[in-house]
């Protein structure tokens, strides 16, 4: 791969465990919850990497760690070759502009007491403090045009906009600082299908226009397949499979990826594993202390008569390349 814009190596984020129910459920006596546990991937310039997985698998935590919105437990994040994990907030500040995040919950991300105009101007001012009033206005209009919004929305408050319009303002604000890398966390999860398509088209156009790189976090599998060049599948804090979007969707090697894609409502999971209908009931999160984390839910594990290596705590499957550009963490890849 040509020089990646972002490289993540062995990223871990462990949360101190709260006492009480959460502790009981996780069955983790160690006192920490490994929300992200040894995640490594690289993102090339102008590329979209999709990050999929069920809720609680650590997708958003990974995204937030990349933006240094929370301290990491271990690992290294390199932006254009520079290790940013050890940078102080002051040293990171110039880079913050280049790495931006589109947040999932825009009602929380847009200040409800600021008009759209002030929201955009604040961001423009941070990036280009030298602009005079005229320049500011021109740049504001330019941003609105980029996201296909009318000028008459500038005087509105965020609560007066529809979901799709708020999403566009969120994108315009991110674009205001001329970023290079955007972490898009569920950018369309609250939108209707018809509006979702508008936003997806917009993100794609902007990528072509400004050469943006996206880390696209979503639990919507068909959507991720469509917008991403490559896809990383996460399960309980680890990447279990990483490859090109069409291969991940149509020729997965990890049983979890296969289960995930076949669980799309239109298909039937029984067809994917005719021999081993997924066991009813085994769908609660179980976090095994060692070995493959997916084993308790794994159809291959069940079909092979529960081989010992899958649960061997000293033999956790590692992400290894099994064909060019396609890596999988499984002892028995499909």
């Amino acid at each position: 791969m040509a020089s990646p814009i972002l490289e993540v190596k062995g990223l871990s984020k462990h949360f101190a465990q709260r006492r009480g129910l959460l502790g009981l459920l996780s069955g983790n006596a160690g006192g920490t919850i490994p929300a992200v546990d040894g995640v490594s991937f690289a993102l090339a310039e102008h590329e979209t990497l999709g990050l999929v997985g069920e809720s609680g698998c650590g997708k958003t935590t990974t995204g937030k760690a990349i933006l240094k919105l929370m301290p990491v437990t271990a690992g290294e994040i390199r932006y254009r070759g520079q290790d940013i994990t050890s940078l102080s907030p002051g040293e990171f500040r110039p880079l913050r502009r280049e790495i931006q995040m589109i947040f999932q919950d825009l009602d929380a991300a847009l200040n409800p007491k600021m008009r759209i105009e002030s929201i955009l101007r604040e961001a423009i001012g941070l990036c280009e403090p030298e602009l005079d009033a005229d320049g500011l206005r021109r740049r504001t209009y330019e941003l609105l045009e980029l996201v296909n919004l009318k000028k008459n929305k500038l005087a509105n408050f965020p609560s007066e906009l529809s979901g799709g319009e708020k999403r566009r303002i969120g994108i315009a604000r991110v674009l205001a600082v001329r970023p290079k890398l955007i972490v898009a966390d569920e950018p369309t999860s609250a939108l209707d299908v018809s509006i979702q398509a508008q936003v997806i088209n917009l993100l794609r156009d902007l990528q072509g226009q400004f050469g943006l790189s996206y880390l696209f976090i979503s639990h919507d599998l068909p959507l991720v397949e469509l917008v991403s060049h490559r896809v990383a599948v996460m399960y309980l804090g680890q990447i279990v499979e990483l490859g090109s979007a069409p291969r991940i969707a149509h020729a997965p090697h990890h049983p979890y990826t296969s289960v995930l894609w076949s669980s799309l409502a239109e298909k039937r999971s029984r067809e994917a594993f005719p021999g081993a209908a997924p066991a009813w009931g085994v769908f609660d999160f179980e976090r095994p202390s060692g070995g493959c984390r997916f084993a308790p839910r794994c159809p291959v594990y069940a079909a092979r008569g529960k081989p010992a290596e899958c649960t061997d705590p000293h033999n956790t499957p590692r992400l290894r390349e099994i064909e060019p550009g396609h890596a999988v963490a499984c002892h028995f890849p499909l």
């Binding site: 069920e54 088209n201 469509l226 669980s263 799309l264 409502a265 769908f283």
Partner: protein
């Protein structure tokens, strides 16, 4: 379709009066639907299209003071019964220049009438499961207690011990593992998928004739969604349940429904057999077609990797435009019908046997 449908909704209108805007929010604006015995009707639509309000109205779940409901909802179990009977008498509308200016509603009488209309029906003959199971269940009671309460209220198992056994039976029927242990769990101790199952068990415990599932899979993970869909499918085959499924997820609707109704801006724009609507969408309402085309599926991608989006915003149900509600976003409107689309609202008419479409394209 059998000659007498189990439930027939006729010209249902549910308006909410907004004091601030001095206007009505026309959430449901003239819906006609029929649900035959044993069939699954899927209602799809974007948020705010009125799909949930339609079914909530039929079950008297619209309690908001300014809510006004008109129309007829006939539930035909042994004898036909109008679930909305006598509600008109509880409201008084003040009109000026043809517009409704204010609403006076006798809430007590309204509530009494609703309870009279729905006695023995709501919860017993028609059960409902909701989008957010944790919010819909009582957090202070164990799921077992809540399910056996439904058993005692609605079935012949009145004895607490017998009701408990019956409740365990239903927990097992929805595939909750180790039901005896789970019986004593509180809703907060269950995962989202498990809680949704418990709610399905609670709805089934009343042995209803019809089940209304309002967004049963929304907010659940893909793998758990698939389990809930399989569970609903099993209810259809094992118990012959009549099911009304409300969802904005066309995938879920496509998999479970026998017939589909597509809603937009408080109206049904199209209804018909599921396969016909999904596979021959270009012969149906332009909205249905555009909705299917905008789904993020590989087959929908046009050159340049773009999805055919429906431009514009979802309809504002306060300032409902004259003419066709979908007109401004319609891509198939042409000069031959443009004037009519702008002036006159099309009726829902049968275009092929079983398929009804509300569009001037099909009405010469």
């Amino acid at each position: 379709m059998s000659p007498t449908p189990l439930l027939r909704i006729e010209d249902l209108r549910t308006y909410f009066y907004s004091r601030a805007k001095q206007a009505f929010i026309r959430s449901v604006d003239g819906v006609d639907l029929e649900i035959a015995r044993g069939e699954t009707l899927g209602i799809v639509g974007e948020s705010g299209s009125g799909k949930s309000v339609t079914m909530h109205s039929t079950l008297g779940l619209i309690t908001a003071t300014p809510g006004v409901i008109s129309g007829r909802v006939v539930f035909h179990d042994e004898a036909p019964r109008d679930l909305l009977a006598g509600l008109d008498a509880c409201t008084r509308l003040e009109r000026r220049d043809g517009r409704i200016m204010s609403v006076e509603k006798d809430n007590r009488a309204w509530q009494k009438q609703v309870e009279r209309n729905l006695a023995g029906v709501r919860g017993g003959k028609i059960a409902m499961i909701f989008q957010n199971p944790k919010a819909a269940m009582n957090p202070y009671e164990t799921i077992g207690a809540q399910i056996s309460e439904a058993v005692r209220l609605h079935t012949a198992f009145k004895d607490p011990a017998a009701a408990r056994e019956r409740a365990l039976h239903w927990l097992e029927a929805v595939r909750i593992d180790s039901p005896r242990l789970r019986y004593d769990n509180y809703p907060y101790g269950l995962s989202g998928g498990m809680c949704q199952r418990a709610m399905v068990a609670m709805a089934l415990a009343a042995e209803p004739r019809m089940l209304i599932a309002d967004e049963p899979t929304t907010g659940l993970d893909a793998t758990i969604q698939a389990r809930i869909v399989e569970l609903l499918e099993e209810l259809k085959t094992r118990f012959g349940m009549t099911l009304v499924l409300i969802s904005h997820d066309i995938g879920v609707i496509a998999r479970l429904s026998d017939r589909i109704a597509v809603m937009y801006g408080g109206q049904v724009l199209e209804s018909g057999p599921a396969a016909m609507l999904l596979e021959q969408s270009e012969q149906g309402h332009p909205y249905t077609h555009a909705l299917l085309a905008s789904m993020p599926r590989a087959k929908n991608v046009k050159d340049g990797g773009r999805l055919p989006a429906i431009e514009g915003e979802v309809l504002d149900t306060i300032n409902v435009p004259r003419g066709c509600r979908f007109r401004e976003r319609c891509q198939r409107i042409h000069d031959g019908i443009r004037a009519r689309c702008a002036e006159q609202e099309p009726e829902l008419v049968e275009v092929t046997p079983g398929r009804r479409v509300r569009c001037w394209l099909y009405q010469a």
